[in-house]
Symmetry: C2
Subunit: 368 residues, 2 copies
């Protein structure tokens, strides 16, 4: 087991550690025991991840003397909804998870988001922990306590801030990710570099072959660095004031595209990649981003095989309306994250009336 020092998320009484390692999945039981003691816990996962890692995690829990009930959540963002949540709550009642118990999320962002929200609300709040197994979850979603479900009216409209008690990221689980999902995760890695660390961005450019080949040691370094950057942002700004909101770079349009496609077709990271391409254009025209770094960002997305074009069939007007429904919006204006240069951002308040023309211009079509 290779494991650097745990990363601290500093939030006073809600502080916790992020354990990034290679082969450290077997430490889950010991960490869970420290949280739940002898109380029953629920292990929430999806069938795919369960088949790959469920037994190992259950063995680790059992070895540590933790009683666990497994609750399966169907795969995919379209199941991050009220129906899944209701079924989880019913299963928690059946499993008699008590106030001293805990929920463990083993899987990607969907499992983590819905498990965290179930934990935030079960008995008015019980402990939970994140054991992320996708790249997006390890570097971003599992850290910071944002939990949510989607509604027909929009993504993540319902949720809670509820911090996990620990995050355990075994980078080796990334080796089993389908190629497309792995690359979608790279979109968030690129985002992290673009908004927070030009050094990380340059590393990705320089080592793109090894990144695509999933070199273990390099992945460990990248996940550790991204998780550390995320932890620092969350430590300063737990409840999404301005600092944390910069993490939404590429997400305003990305969420709109996902919503209009009914969360089918594109993966979240792919939608974010498309959103970053649009945000790069806005950054160039409105926020003084030079063409060269903008071009490098687009090129790196391309190198990782990520889409940058808005899917056919989506009109500027429909996209603009969907962006208006996003919750990062107040009184007719969207708070848009711009790049000024690689590693530095600022907010640009866009009038929602300007969105459709800007999208039309970006897409090279009429504002129809």
């Amino acid at each position: 087991v290779t494991a650097p020092e745990p990363i601290a998320v500093e939030l006073g009484p809600r502080s916790y550690e992020v354990h990034v390692g290679l082969g450290n999945l077997d430490a889950t039981g010991e960490l869970a025991r420290a949280v739940a003691g002898s109380a029953a816990v629920a292990l929430l996962t999806n069938p795919t991840v369960d088949a790959l890692y469920g037994e190992r995690v259950r063995a680790s829990l059992e070895a540590a003397g933790v009683r666990a009930t497994t609750i399966a959540i169907p795969d995919g963002e379209r199941h991050k909804n009220l129906e899944t949540l209701g079924r989880i709550w019913d299963r928690l009642a059946e499993a008699r998870i008590e106030r001293g118990g805990a929920l463990l999320a083993l899987g990607g962002g969907v499992v983590g988001d819905v498990t965290g929200f179930a934990a935030a609300t079960w008995l008015r709040g019980v402990a939970f922990a994140q054991v992320p197994t996708t790249l997006v979850a390890q570097i971003d979603a599992a850290i910071g306590g944002k939990t949510a479900i989607d509604l027909p009216g929009g993504k993540n409209l319902v949720g809670a801030f509820h911090q996990p008690r620990f995050v355990l990221a075994d980078v080796r689980t990334l080796l089993s990710l389908p190629e497309r999902e792995y690359r979608a995760g790279l979109a968030e890695v690129v985002k992290t570099g673009a908004i927070l660390s030009s050094g990380l961005f340059e590393l990705l450019e320089r080592e793109s072959d090894r990144v695509l080949a999933r070199d273990e040691e390099l992945l460990l370094r990248i996940v550790h660095e991204c998780a550390g950057l995320k932890a620092r942002v969350v430590s300063v700004d737990e409840n999404e004031g301005d600092l944390r909101a910069i993490l939404n770079f590429g997400h305003t349009l990305g969420h709109a595209v996902e919503m209009l496609q009914g969360y089918e077709g594109l993966l979240h990271g792919e939608a974010v990649s498309i959103g970053m391409a649009f945000a790069t254009g806005v950054s160039t025209t409105r926020c003084g981003l030079a063409p060269e770094p903008g071009g490098r960002l687009l090129a790196l997305l391309g190198r990782f095989g990520l889409p940058t074009r808005i899917p056919g069939g989506l009109s500027p007007r429909a996209l603009a309306r969907a962006m208006e429904a996003d919750k990062k919006r107040t009184a007719g204006r969207v708070k848009f994250v711009c790049l000024e240069e690689l590693g530095r951002t600022r907010f640009e308040n866009l009038a929602t009336d300007d969105l459709a023309p800007m999208l039309a211009s970006h897409m090279g079509v009429n504002d129809g």
Copy 2:
């Protein structure tokens, strides 16, 4: 308008005031404006309360320049569920309630609980306020930030601690309560006296005629005193440690009875009255409560026309199982609130295996 000084709930950054008065409903708009500014708010209420007070509250909001969308919640505890919550979330999306907006709960405990939980989770938490119009809500449920919905598996199993930004209790709204609902509310008033204030308890005994006649000035005094006691408990113990848990006197069995009856038949206060009668018996046999004050408690419940007998058809075993499902339980033991004397409580840890025999003995039946 008669209004004593507002009562302070002292919770640091989450502090707020409880405004108890006669005819102060028209102050809603001004208080809401201070919370939501020019953002859109949602007024949640049920059809009965809406018909009585909806227009007055909307007029007050309009006069203060607050834009409000009314969302109706069906009447009754059996609608405090996932389905109602899902419909509220969808309506909040339609009404475009933003992060700076707020939800207002106009009604009894059901409206308050579900509105508070919707506010705790909408966009990961928006402001809300309580405008309680029932006796139970004015003296208890609206104060303290406990929000919840019920599941088929038990009452209030899902929820959040989310403090309101203000509570406005117009005691005059109690004059329109149906007699039975008013008396059910008196059960919680009696409970408050029994556990926290022998002075209040004696006032209720002495003035029981005026209480039943709903004398305005007396009601103002009683609501103000109960709200003040509740505010003090919450200020010391926001998240239900030991102090706040004493408010559950009579509720462990009360919830079990409600659950087994599918939240139909008995009102909440009536179930609590039945629960208090059982708790009085337990207090006498296990916690050293003298027979005389125990008898006075039963007599006062009787004076207010409240039920004290467990409904026919419920077996001790079924009740015991339902009590075990209650969330005030850890590892095979129920934390039961006992009276030592009027105004003083302590916890008695009851083994769940002892519950059925104790209930059978209380009911004078076999432990079947």
